[in-house]
């Protein structure tokens, strides 16, 4: 808005601040809770200031884990989650950018049906095909392995579709100019299309990393060995203790640990993302 009235300024800021508080306050509470001892929550009064158990809680969780609840050390689970998320994100981008390249730039039989087939899977959530997928993965002997965690979710109709849409906006003359300049299809892909797709790749990496990191149902189905547990499953295991009270301080520390990496990825990649947006022009 071009208008600049003090009252409107006050109002917009009020709304924004309220919005931020609504989002931030629960996260703040979780962090505060993770710095207290296990008995501080029994009174029913939730403390609002940090306690003195920060290093104890986090150190215990990262190093030892809560083995009685079936949660291995968080360091291991964080590593698993990171590996899975990166493999999913990189794999999804690599596969979908190549599929989109094939669909847009090559004429082959059944090209259009192939695209529609990919497009239609957009409408099927993972949960719909989860039983057959489990059967396939089990028969291939990929239960309890990284390949089992990653491969079934590595194809992405969304990313293929987005790359296709982007490639369609690249002028055809660009490809023709490259052909005249002596660049074959793969050279054109590497020298022209990949650099032009930088922003899309960065954006998709953020989305796909978080998608991979937040995988819950699938890892829970196919991993039975603690060695392959991911951090999102770990929280669930912490929070469901069979006998006795939940150790909320540890659960909250786990939540903070699980939430941190996606935030870091967004902060780090956003720079690249914005930079790419400013620099690239077709």
């Amino acid at each position: 808005m071009v208008e600049n009235r003090p009252f409107l300024n006050f109002l917009t800021h009020l709304v924004l601040i309220l919005g931020v508080l609504t989002v931030v306050f629960p996260v703040y509470l979780a962090f505060i809770a993770s710095t207290h001892g296990p008995t501080d929550f029994m009174s029913g009064i939730v403390p609002l200031l940090p306690g003195d158990q920060f290093s104890a809680n986090y150190g215990y969780l990262l190093g030892t884990g809560e083995s009685t609840a079936g949660a291995p050390p968080f360091l291991l689970m964080l590593g698993n989650s990171l590996a899975m998320a990166i493999m999913i994100a990189v794999g999804k981008i690599a596969i979908s950018i190549i599929s989109a390249f094939a669909i847009v730039y090559f004429r082959f039989p059944l090209r259009v049906p192939a695209f529609w087939l990919i497009f239609m899977t957009l409408m099927l959530p993972v949960e719909v095909r989860i039983l057959p997928t489990y059967k396939v993965v089990a028969d291939l002997g990929m239960l309890n392995s990284y390949s089992g965690l990653v491969i079934p979710v590595i194809a992405s109709a969304t990313a293929t579709f987005l790359f296709r849409q982007f490639f369609l906006t690249v002028p055809e003359e660009m490809m023709e100019a490259a052909r005249v300049d002596g660049a074959g299809p793969m050279k054109f892909f590497r020298d022209i299309l990949l650099p032009l797709s930088r922003t899309n790749i960065a954006a998709l990496f953020i989305i796909m990393f978080i998608y991979g990191w937040n995988q819950y149902l699938w890892p829970m189905l196919i991993t039975t060995e603690p060695q392959y547990y991911t951090v999102v499953m770990g929280i669930k295991r912490l929070a469901s203790v069979l006998d006795g009270d939940n150790q909320w301080n540890l659960v909250m520390a786990g939540v903070i640990l699980a939430g941190l990496p996606p935030v870091l990825v967004i902060i780090f990649m956003q720079r690249l993302f914005v930079k790419g947006l400013v620099e690239t022009e077709k």
Binding site: A177, R179, V180, E281
Partner: protein, 366 residues
Amino acid sequence: MASIDVEGVGKVYSGGVRAVTDIKLNIADGEFIVLVGPSGCGKSTLLRMVAGLETISEGEVKIGSRVVNNVEPADRDIAMVFQNYALYPHMTVYNNLAYGLKNRGTPKAEIDARVAEAARMLEITQYLERKPRALSGGQRQRVAMGRAIVRKPAAFLFDEPLSNLDAKLRVSMRGEIKRLQRRLGTTSIYVTHDQLEAMTLADRLVVLNGGQIEQIGAPLEVYHAPASTFVASFIGSPAMNLVKGELHGDKLAIGPAMVALNGFAPTSGAVTVGVRAEDLRIARDDEEALPFRLEYTEELGAQRLIHGTVGDQQITAAVSPEIALSPDMRIAVDAKRLHFFSIDTGKRLPGHVPAEAKLAPVEPVI
């Protein structure tokens, strides 16, 4: 450097749509050929077949003495300048120019030398480290030309390279393209829909219509002796007046009026008569002339275009702005300035050809 021979080339798209029919065109080494025609006439398709960006359905294309029908564009020894420049946006100007050479494995030192030479020729040396987005339209056009020049190809192919520029820049770039082509002596094919651009650039014009060649000739030849009513109406601004007339012996009847032909009648019966606006003049009182009803005028500065009707047919004449006008005038024309076309085929009828059509082109002073 090479000649280009287009032998009976045709293009049929999958689905049976025919874009180009039986084109025969022999281009001499160093010649500047302009393909001109309205949109959809097949001129770009023809150029792209020479470039290798479209497959050739019929006939063959030779560059030098080599048939290139199945040769990749990169191996045809041609360079192309596109309408939207098609510069690589993420590369600097230097890399844009060098990309084609790098792909051919040219040594680094030679790439440097060639890029520097092309940049100097096009006066873009100070922009070599910039990205295309930081350049103006005219500068981008120069970079696109530079990308063609550095390759030192046998032929330049231009696909409407000036259409994205504003009118003033177009005129100066036009001159520059001509100058560069003369200096480098590279065979060139240039596609445009702008007849003025075609006239000013071409050694020889190829006028295309509906995928077929209407006429091939030097600009003056095409202007003064158009081979068909299509060429007559397409080349020249304002377009040649085309009216229906009837030949009676040595007289031409246009509506109720008669014009003496002084022996220039090519045939008899109904014909289409063509006359350039500048060949019409306001008649003296004592001569045979056509009654002209003035409708409106357009001022061009040096000339004034007067639009009106003779009988029920539209006529435009170009006259000096100093001549006084009245709503009802008479206009006259010399019989030898008339063009006669068949009323059925639109083809020029054999007969008198104006002397201007045979004027030799001015050899450039370099």
